[in-house]
């Protein structure tokens, strides 16, 4: 079953095109990340899916329903989705327990308030006013309010933006527990590590267009070649290595850093040299191409916007 469908979505604000012909689908139970730099159209896309913005052109459906449909049907649909907005959106005068109980009362089959508070790990702060919580704790309250109705689809708009690394990891843990339970999640982020950690699938947006739609591994494979790194033993100079390797030594750091198109041949040359010279290979590492490299390659040096989006789209996924 398809949980989210986006077909040729275009969104304009006056003369400015924020989203230009974006299409993708998210099957039920999948975690998809919209990844892209600031201004790529991530938030605009997610706001159309949440029903806050009307598309200028194209069709979007969430759980088979147009998010802009109002009335009683709209209420029933809203009870099936959850969302965490880009910035914290909480009444700071309420305590954590008051906010969670208030929102629980809106849904037909909510989770228990105590259950949610435990899930967002704020049991010891249940009686604390939200205004007195740290940024990371407030974000967890945001998430708690987003999931209390047992949503089938959860939208997370930059859920960890501005958080310190520890708070980010804590929030990831909560999201991962949701994912394990089968909730469909669409999250926007500009943190590559976040997409890699949470998502089954990464949709890269740049300048309002989809430039890649693939699994993290598929994307990473496009990041170029693996790199052989080796810190030279003391007393060894670059010129002591075979010429094919020596030009990749950084003399200042005394380190070989070789982007390898033929890993077997290059490693063979290095190991052969080490055997002949009885050099210690401790510290030798081969790093795979990174998602970051792929992401940077995809989001920089884009062709002119006037070209049809289809020509630039690279689709590896289903």
């Amino acid at each position: 079953m398809t949980a989210i469908e986006v077909e040729h979505l275009v969104k304009r604000f006056g003369g400015f095109t924020a989203v230009e012909d974006v299409s993708f689908t998210v099957p039920a139970g999948e975690v998809a990340a919209l990844l892209g730099p600031n201004g790529a159209g991530k938030t605009t896309t997610i706001e159309v899916l949440e029903g806050f913005l009307a598309p200028s052109r194209g069709v979007v459906r969430v759980l088979g329903t147009d998010p802009r449909r109002g009335g009683r049907a709209g209420r029933a649909w809203r009870a099936r989705i959850g969302l965490v907005l880009q910035s914290t959106s909480l009444d700071t005068q309420l305590t954590v327990a008051e906010a969670v109980s208030l929102y629980a009362g809106l849904f037909p089959e909510p989770m228990g308030a105590a259950e949610v508070i435990e899930m967002i790990d704020l049991g010891s702060d249940a009686g604390t006013r939200i205004g007195a919580l740290s940024g990371g704790q407030r974000r967890r309250v945001d998430l708690g309010l987003g999931i209390i109705g047992r949503p089938e689809v959860l939208f997370l708009d930059e859920p960890t933006a501005g958080l310190d690394p520890e708070a980010r990891r804590e929030l990831w843990a909560v999201i991962q527990s949701l994912v394990a339970a089968g909730t469909t999640v669409l999250l926007t982020t500009h943190y590559i590590e976040e997409a890699q950690r949470l998502a089954d699938r990464v949709i890269v947006l740049a300048e309002g267009r989809v430039v890649a739609d693939a699994t993290p591994d598929q994307l990473r494979a496009r990041g170029g070649t693996p790199v052989i790194r080796y810190r030279l033993p003391p007393g060894t100079q670059a010129r002591d290595l075979p010429p094919a390797l020596s030009r990749y030594v950084d003399p200042g750091r005394g380190e070989l850093s070789l982007p390898s198109a033929d890993l077997t041949a290059d490693l063979d040359a290095l190991v052969g040299w080490a055997r002949r010279n009885r050099a210690d290979l401790t510290g030798l590492e081969v790093t795979p191409p990174s998602l970051e490299d792929a992401y940077i390659a995809l989001t920089t040096d884009l062709p002119p916007a006037a070209e049809p989006a289809d020509k630039q789209r690279v689709t590896c996924h289903g």
């Binding site: 006056g14 400015f16 989705i81 959106s89 435990e118 949503p151 949701l178 394990a180």
Partner: protein, 277 residues
């Protein structure tokens, strides 16, 4: 942790989806929630409850030889002032702040019916405004020669309730004109201070021109002050509800609701989109 969560898809596999919560419990929860916000907002409490009493105390030390008729008008005027500060200023600032902080947007994304959100907020605001009025009249009774009968109390309840609803509806309608919480003070003061001044809420105007007196009768402050003054002067008998004053307030309430339905904005003001060259 993970094993405790399950999305509602399993529940939806049943023959009928579970019904959404009914309007009664939703509205009750909204009124409680909005009252809690007001009670925990020191600025709103001082504006609503303390300032009208303070003005009554200051006036009592300034005027030592007011006639009873002027005293009743003064108490009615300052009680109305407190009501408007609560129902218009605090209410509108609360909405603009909620809009700016994204709280309104979050509410809009929930299954709560829109009318229920506004009804809850306006009802809580009106209750707070009536509390402000009660405190101001109690202070007036202890500081001035103002008395209440059962009939006059009922008249006051009707007129102040309708007044609070009208001003809360207008406070909701004015929020699209206020871009940010920081801009709320000037916009709201500019819209309500002339009305309350022309209506004699801060002391009667002895030499106002005729056209201004006529205009004030149709603005939403003077009908409250006039009706409340008459109620405070009421010696006995049942409640006396003046038709003109009620009609004017009801018209403003309807105008406020209609304008809110058409123009209310849930989202913060967006910065203008533009590509850098």
């Amino acid at each position: 942790m993970a094993e405790t969560f399950s999305p509602a898809s399993s529940a939806r596999a049943r023959p009928a989806a579970p019904p959404l919560p009914g309007a009664g419990p939703l509205l009750g929860a909204q009124v409680r929630y909005q009252l809690l916000l007001l009670m925990r907002n020191p600025r709103a409490l001082i504006l609503s409850l303390a300032i009208p009493v303070l003005l009554l105390v200051l006036n009592s030390s300034r005027h030592t030889n007011l006639t009873p008729r002027l005293e009743e008008a003064l108490v009615a005027g300052l009680a109305t002032f407190g009501l408007i500060v609560t129902a218009y200023i605090s209410h509108a600032i609360g909405l603009v702040t909620g809009r700016q902080d994204g709280v309104l947007r979050r509410w809009r994304a929930t299954p709560l019916p829109t009318w229920c959100f506004f009804a809850g907020k306006i009802a809580a605001t009106s209750l707070m405004a009536l509390a402000s009025v009660a405190i101001a009249i109690a202070a007036g009774m202890s500081l001035y020669r103002v008395h209440l009968t059962a009939g006059s109390a009922l008249s006051l309840l009707v007129i102040f309730t309708l007044g609070a609803l009208a001003w809360a509806a207008l406070g909701t309608a004015v929020t699209p004109l206020v871009p940010t919480a920081q801009a709320a003070g000037p916009v709201l003061l500019l819209t309500y201070l002339p009305v309350i001044l022309f209506s004699g809420g801060l002391g009667s105007l002895n030499s106002e021109p005729g056209w201004l007196a006529t205009l004030a009768r149709y603005l939403p402050a003077q009908p409250i002050i006039d009706a409340a003054t008459r109620a405070l002067r009421q010696a006995g008998g049942g409640p006396q509800i003046p038709g003109h004053d009620l009609a004017v307030l009801a018209a403003w309430a309807v105008a406020g609701v209609v304008a809110s339905v058409w123009f209310f904005r849930w989202d913060p003001v967006r910065p203008r989109h533009a590509r850098l060259p």
